[in-house]
Amino acid sequence: MNTPKIFVGSAGWSYKDWMPNFYPRAQSKNFSWLHFYSNYFKVVEVNSSYYTYISPNMVNNWLQQIEQEQEFLFTVKLHKDFTHKRYYGKNEISAVKTNLDILKEAERFGGLLIQFPYSFQYTSSNVEYLQKIVHEFEGYNQFVEVRHKSWQHKNAKTVTMCTIDQPQIGESYSFNPIIGNQTAYVRFHGRNVEAWKDSLNNFSKDLNYETRSARYEYLYSPGELIEIDQKIKEIFDKVKKIFVIMNNHPHGDAIANAFELLYLLKERTKIKIPPTILTAYPRLKTMAEVEKLI
């Protein structure tokens, strides 16, 4: 069996509730979360770029923080103006591209995540719109996430359609690894059906972090991870790269599951895991090559 390059990480890294489960409570003044994170994972998905146009200074600052890592990639989520509001112009395109180019130049660019909402169903006008967006960002690796079942079994040669695992409500797209452009991009949103349903009732309301995050609150069980591992391995022979992104971020569940999947996908080779997460998630102890706190 060929083993592709495997990049496992999380959607975002800047969560206060990852402390002390992942980030240590005692932190020096210059302690960098991204630096700490990059000691363990080789990719991170930037999600803040969905809500705001990030300044190039900030991107350069990130690059400095991960400087010591030979292999570390950023994937960047496209701003909601393009996918949800569908209202953008030249300035917006340029603001996005500037940052992508900085990452590309530094050889730290993994790809652009273009995530559409559940309401974006498979229709000819939506296909046309998707093509338009894909065209706007030609030359950049693109990962397209759609959530409605009508897209299931649809594929494209030049972009990678995302494989997603999400609560199965209504006509939701179900988990089934897809390949495009010799790459697979797999995102895990958790399977918290009840909280997800609640969140649909609060849709578009101004919510605090806890309420907004509740639907992602889910720790995948060892059995679920084994099933996922076996399904992902079925496409090993067909891809060169696999990105696995955990979005079930509350309390650090995403980090615990990311370590577990990394361990399974790497044929159970012991991995570097910080003592913080082992305290919070003792079941990870069997897979840890334990190290002291930095």
């Binding site: 069980s221 059995g223 099933e227 076996q230 003792p282 079941r283």
Partner: protein
């Protein structure tokens, strides 16, 4: 001559619990009912718990008396099913034919595969290692020319054993084994065998076939044949589940017939719901009845294949009324369906009433699938 593997996952439920929580390693772990309530039985227990004399199906109260410091868990049943599927996924890479006998038992037919895999004993070790490395689940494997001997062999060297019964060595292998080692022999039969001086499979094999036919009927003949190394060589590879059942252990033993019949009604509804979800119809239904003194009886009846609650319930009720003969409280009731046919979607011409009922049952199944079993119920006639 065929080569059958029987793979049995060692203390399966406990092994899965240990993946979920590694702190359980090396400790006496018991999966089953909550001992605080003192009802129900042990579903599975670790080898450490077995050292205290515990075994599956033992009343939980007795288990707690023998091993009060054990770790009692209700269990993560969905996880067991996921891990079982994961094992099958590994086996499917190698085995030309697989029969899943239960959540933790698999028969595989490797006839002629020595050309591909080399020594099948070494191959069994590889399989065992792969399941351990990929899933952290220990298992034992028995290899023989038929299913019965393969199953006895997998049980012979547990845990993590591999036993290969070479062709022509079957009788020699079976002869010293206790009669209890034969699958499918219940406590009552064992007691009767012991009373008659049969302690080992060799004792049974050495006696005339006619005697067993006379003393135990059809079941006796089968026992005699199995003791002589005979057994089924063919796998049920369609993934067919052989039966489905629901049981209820009462919180307190029950004497009220009305309560028992209501329970049977609910159990029947659950079984029929499951039948319809699988698109199956049952050709046989069985009643299980356990009195408070643990005397247990099972009675079954063949019926025209159906998934209709009313037909199944009427049959079960009939069995119950005929067989609940002692004036003793009841501890457990169970309803089982077996001998499945695949439900044919085609409706019968000219049977409008039957077709309406079928459609109604399908609609109920769909409603329950969406909103849960309790969302809609049949009314029971008195």
């Amino acid at each position: 001559m065929r080569t059958i593997f029987h793979l049995d996952l060692d203390a399966f439920f406990v092994s899965v619990e240990r993946v979920i929580n590694p702190a359980l390693n090396g400790k006496p772990v018991i999966i089953g009912a909550n001992p605080e309530y003192g009802r129900g039985v042990v579903a599975a227990c670790s080898y450490e718990a077995r050292e205290y004399g515990l075994h599956s199906a033992m009343p939980i109260k007795q288990a707690f008396r023998l091993c009060p410091n054990g770790i009692y868990l209700h269990g993560h049943h969905k996880e067991y099913s996921r891990f079982s599927k994961a094992v099958k996924h590994i086996l499917e890479k190698y085995a030309p034919a697989i029969e899943q006998a239960s959540i933790d038992e698999f028969y595989m037919d490797f006839t002629g595969c020595a050309h591909i895999y080399g020594s099948l004993f070494i191959f069994a070790q590889k399989l065992q290692n792969e399941i351990w490395q990929q899933l952290s689940l220990p298992c034992s494997i028995g290899i023989a020319r038929n299913k019965t001997i393969a199953k006895i062999a997998s049980d012979f060297m547990k845990p993590r054993g591999i036993t290969y019964v070479l062709p022509e060595m079957e009788k020699a292998f079976l002869a010293p084994m206790p009669a209890e080692s034969m699958p499918g022999i219940g406590k009552e039969t064992i007691k009767s065998l012991h009373d008659k001086g049969f302690y080992t499979l060799g004792d049974i094999a050495a006696t005339a076939e006619d005697y067993f036919a006379a003393a135990y009927g059809k079941h006796g003949l089968e026992m005699w044949r199995k003791s002589n190394g005979e057994g089924s060589q063919y796998l049920n590879t369609y993934g067919d589940q052989k039966s489905m059942s629901h049981e209820k252990t009462f919180g307190q033993d029950v004497l009220e017939i009305e309560k028992m019949e209501t329970t049977l009604f609910t159990l029947t509804a659950k079984v029929c719901q499951q039948l319809r979800e699988n698109n199956w119809q049952a050709g046989k239904v069985s009643l299980k009845l356990r009195y408070s003194d643990f005397v247990t009886l099972t009675r079954d009846k063949s019926i025209k294949p159906t998934d209709d609650d009313k037909i199944v319930y009427d049959t079960i009720l009939d069995l119950f009324r005929k067989n609940y003969t002692r004036r003793v409280a009841v501890r457990l009731l169970g309803v089982k369906a077996s001998k499945f046919n695949i439900y044919c979607e085609q409706e019968q011409l000219f049977d409008e009433e039957g077709n309406i009922r079928k459609r109604m049952l399908r609609a109920i199944t769909d409603i329950r699938d969406r909103f849960g079993f309790e969302s809609i119920k049949f009314a029971r006639q008195q």
